[in-house]
Symmetry: C2
Subunit: 340 residues, 2 copies
Amino acid sequence: MSSTAAEAGMGEISPDLIVDAMFACRKTAAIKAAIELDLFTLIGDGGTAESLAVATNAAERGVRILCDYLVVNGFLTKTGHQYALTPSSRAFLDRHSPAYMGSAIEFLAAPEILKQVLDDPTSYVRNGGSIGLANMSPDNPVWVKFARGMGSFTGGSAVSLAAEMANLPVPPKRILDIAAGHGRFGIEMAKTFPSAEIVAVDWNSVLQLAKHNAWEFGVSERYKAIPGSAFDVDWGTDYDLILLANFLHHFDMETCAGLLGKTRASLSRDGHVVAVEFVPNDDLVSPPFAAAFSWEMLANTPKGEAYTKKDLTEMARRAGFQDARVKPLPPSPASVIFFE
Amino acid sequence: MSSTAAEAGMGEISPDLIVDAMFACRKTAAIKAAIELDLFTLIGDGGTAESLAVATNAAERGVRILCDYLVVNGFLTKTGHQYALTPSSRAFLDRHSPAYMGSAIEFLAAPEILKQVLDDPTSYVRNGGSIGLANMSPDNPVWVKFARGMGSFTGGSAVSLAAEMANLPVPPKRILDIAAGHGRFGIEMAKTFPSAEIVAVDWNSVLQLAKHNAWEFGVSERYKAIPGSAFDVDWGTDYDLILLANFLHHFDMETCAGLLGKTRASLSRDGHVVAVEFVPNDDLVSPPFAAAFSWEMLANTPKGEAYTKKDLTEMARRAGFQDARVKPLPPSPASVIFFE
């Protein structure tokens, strides 16, 4: 998650990591405010607290203190009174950049998510999970925030997955995208396979956004939507490719195996089921992002977690597959899983 | 705040810092849960998820995921299924350690503080400050949390300050501790000057704790408490030493100058006024903790911030002093300020 972890083994005694963790929420607050004010885009080729206060219609004092904090934490540089973007901030936080990922904050720091994560973390450790927003109500509005915000975050792995699928011996014609969210995974498939039809399953409110995105990417005439829960809905049969992108980690092994069984029963003769997941090593503490992701699921779901290759293989077998093959999708922290 | 900032200038393009900031709240949640469960103390010389689940009366799954997350973030090590403390976690998070600072989480991640920091960070940037809990009501219960939690956090600078004061040419007899909080600053003075009397000013509920701490440190017979606001209360005159520890940063320049004027008028002929503050350099972006502290004050006060040497000098002059002399108190990020 953070490079600071690397220092841990070194044995130098310092409260720095602890202080950093205790204050860490302030960093989320700062990046959220900066993104909401579109500060990174406005800085562009440079700006002062004074000019940025005018541009954001905010108090100069507030902008100055925020910008200085962003310098301390490595998101901006400062020369005299002039702030500038770091190369990484320019790539990922300037709205004009194709790799812009600022919108992810809308989901990752949504009030209902932060409430769930921070209100009583001890209780979800004690209980081994939380009630989970998504599980409290069907069609929870938080998934619209997910779909709106996280396309930029997982767009990279959607592109990588489509490139990976281009290697299939026979191009898929019918593709099912389960829990489509922003729709990017299915949409990239539609772009890669120009004669394929995409069927997207998700809550109705989310599908409106997925359909809009399909329209924006010019694939809407091949994009069909089936509203409802992936567990209950009848999505039909004869799919050449079924996608489960960032979905399995929300559920326990048994639920995942059941869902995989349902996908297996919906395949065409040479069809494939592939998932996108963060897959930790067997030690459960590496690589950092994938391993840390289980904590995210502990906070936000009743029984979800990031599954290892061993877990995924067991899941596959319970669903009637032979195996689960895992292949990383760098530079994203995600992997593609082939259920075979 | 974090060593990751050091990478910023290097120009390597990566979303890592951004992802880290967006997820940073999860780190605060984890350290809070671990401290509340007293996990670090219980790990002691080692433990497994299974043994720690029994010891904490928590779900093994929850403990395992929390511990793995703490390994990823550098607070624990893992060998096989066995978790162990890092040297820093042993020093600062094991309740048996004299440098234990876990209790700080009670204030730093108090629900009312997190709400203020996270609910709408854009609004306090826009407004150049927040309403501020402390300013919403006199005698706010959050200050009891501060006093309970932060003694361990600022205890180090209290000891350093007392050592510094031991150099005074004439040992002070009457010492005023303004906004005493946990009382540690005054108490360390009482220990250093065995014939001095300490007068502590703070809200009544906070003073109960300060008095309890004075009793624990064996100085209660020389410890007097005056309840009320530092701005309104009549604390008397003829003080040889007046302490303003971690107080000025809550207020604007004018308010600070007014308060300093009030302290100056209460001094004995050779009396001294000293403050403890986080003092950023003139660039306002170094050193990291002091510079980042202004963001904390933007979120939590209407007009507070971390003051530079230049600011403190102006404050001193407005209050009728000649100068403000700043001397760092390593290893803490605080400095002592002599108003002279």
